[in-house]
Symmetry: none
DNA sequence: AATGAATGAGAGTTCATTCAT
DNA sequence: TATGAATGAACTCTCATTCAT
């Protein structure tokens, strides 16, 4: 069932992003409590889903009193939003290095998918939380995928400008690639890791390379 | 918010499929009431989501008394399951003709995507319901996507055997295509229909055709 | 678990007693339906207790439609009352012959207890129904025990007048004997038949005989 | 309708016995609330019976919010069980001193009955609650009477060993005495106190003394 | 800052009873 | 007479949130 604990860094409430979500703790002790609540929330939401999760479940896991929750977050929705926001950037931070190190555009997408698969295998709860945000916090959901698609599009366009890909690559391709990644992540990351992540990524990338290559047709 | 009404056929509880979900009515009058409840449930779940939906909301829409709900369904979960099952087959029934009429394998996938886009534009609530089943009724969710992917794989394999596609097409490609379809459906079907469905489908299909063609490399 | 079926005679709605409880059926067919409902009610109440029992459970057992229940009884309470009344007289009818055949007063009580023990072993549901009437239909409950106690008292008094028992036997002794019988019935009839009914009755009767004998002090 | 208030001690949730029934309050304020709920439950169950009693009725009497009930008890059944358990021991605690102070075995039983009669006259709701447990919580019911009978048997046996009673006293006699007590309690304690408790007890004890004496036959 | 008791709106579900056929 | 659909009041239980300490 993958790692139950989310590394503190994963959900760290850093300056700006936390604005409006978590309430800024004033003391060091407060900071630790808030962090404990966030980690516990990641577990609770991941295991039980948003609606079955309970504040008391979160505080129990965190080892703090029920009332303390409201010292750091305004509501159940607020923690969830904070979680989605930070997991969203976590995924990106995790795959970014691989993409940067790639030989060319398509290899970058391959690296991105490979990294994504590896990530969700270790963080199944994150996958579920982001998915569920479609129903709990549609704005975050939309922002997450809109941003992700836009980044893919930018990379595709840049590669096209470098002459690697056909000139007509655009938003449709970006969304297609993202959907591909998400569902391969579901199938080979969350459901059943019966194929090495690199093989899945290589297969998909090969299809894309031919499909988006500048040459044929 | 798209069509509010689900065509009766969509949620008709037909013989076997409904087994165990809805309780079979014994009179014609009962059949109509059950259908009314199902239609109302499709609306209610589509608009408010599973958890915010209420039985009383469903019966109010259906114009029947609260208690009548339980004459035909065992629980809130049970209607939801019945709905997912039947919508799942509805989607398939809707796109099947286009796929069968296609010139070749990839053209079939193009027709499938085009049909899917058109369908979700008219039935946004169906989209949401199937998606939410991931959290409400994981079994139905899994069955729906596993079945869909398997059909795509079979079509790809058949096309490969006809010499249209590369011999190595398989499950990974099927899941990639399905994910592509789902996310293009989300972006261009549910979110914003700012591109004709046929154009989106043509763009994606072109990429697939080159990517899966037998020739290059 | 003893006999599940109550012989028709057991709960037969005879003329007067039924007045006001069951509605008099006009046809022979109706009589059979009413009887079927009563038998089914005896089972249902016996197995599940008054509150967990349901009208639909009764009609299902009886093999008739839900609505038919109200053709023959006014309410759930009404069947229950009818049942208590008739079981009450059933018990009496069952033990009466033994009492009449007894050699003397105390032997009559012995025979009564022995008969009662045998009866509850075969009709555990009856035991439960009469007991539960304390909470469902206090009037029937009170009437049942008041009548039973009064009969015992009359028998004791008669025996005293015949010189068999002390002259001071009265209501207190009657209630004491009845309580004894009921609890011995619970312990050795319903709970665990680990002692022959006759032995239990003989032991209790021996105690009574000495306790109520005219001789010593 | 007898005393409305149950002395705090009666329903105090003490250490072990309460394990699993009430949830241990962590503060003094919580202890008071739990006690108030228990007292209110005793009233409510006593007056209306288990099924007609409602949680909201209990909390209304207790002067707390509906939700507070669930802070201290898991369910309606749970309070009922807690109540039965503690009332059961209350009755015992109440009659024990009289029994210990008795001159001999039979006098102990006389004192026990007299004490019991006095107790049920003041606590009619307790009588009803224990009786109703036969249908609501059969385990508690069984435990209560099995324990009570066993204690009587032990006292009888001890008296027999002291030469006061016949050697063959045993379980049957114990159950007979208990049934006697319960029904005399019902008749002269709950229904109608038309005879002094001591007279009833004396009459019953005289019968027992002769019935169980070592001498005759 | 931290605790945990208190609150009460709200939901799903049951089922005796009535009604239309 | 028989059927079974329809009704809706009533109930238990949950839990996010507030409050007092």
């Amino acid at each position: 069932m993958a790692a139950r604990r989310v590394p503190a860094a994963t959900v760290a409430i850093d300056g700006q992003a936390a604005a409006g979500e978590g309430k800024a703790p004033r003391t060091e002790r407060g900071r630790r409590t808030q962090q404990a609540i966030l980690d516990a929330a990641a577990q609770e939401f991941g295991e039980r889903g948003f609606h079955d999760a309970s504040i008391s479940g979160i505080t129990r896991r965190a080892g703090v009193a029920l009332g303390s929750f409201y010292t750091y977050f305004d509501s159940k929705d607020a923690v969830f939003r904070a979680l989605v926001t930070h997991m969203s950037s976590q995924v990106r931070d995790h795959v970014a290095p691989g993409i940067r190190a790639a030989k060319d555009g398509i290899d970058g997408e391959r690296a991105g998918l490979a990294g994504f698969l590896g990530f969700v295998r270790d963080h199944k709860e994150i996958y579920r939380i982001i998915d569920e945000s479609e129903f709990v916090d549609p704005d975050s959901f939309r922002r997450h995928y809109a941003t992700t698609a836009e980044r893919i599009r930018q990379r595709l366009t840049a590669a096209a400008e470098r002459g690697e890909l056909r000139a007509d690559v655009g938003e449709v391709h970006a969304w297609a690639i993202m959907g591909m990644n998400v569902f391969l992540g579901l199938r080979y990351g969350v459901w059943d890791a019966d194929l090495p992540a690199d093989d899945v990524a290589a297969t998909a990338a090969a299809m894309l390379r031919r499909g988006l290559a500048v040459q044929p047709d």
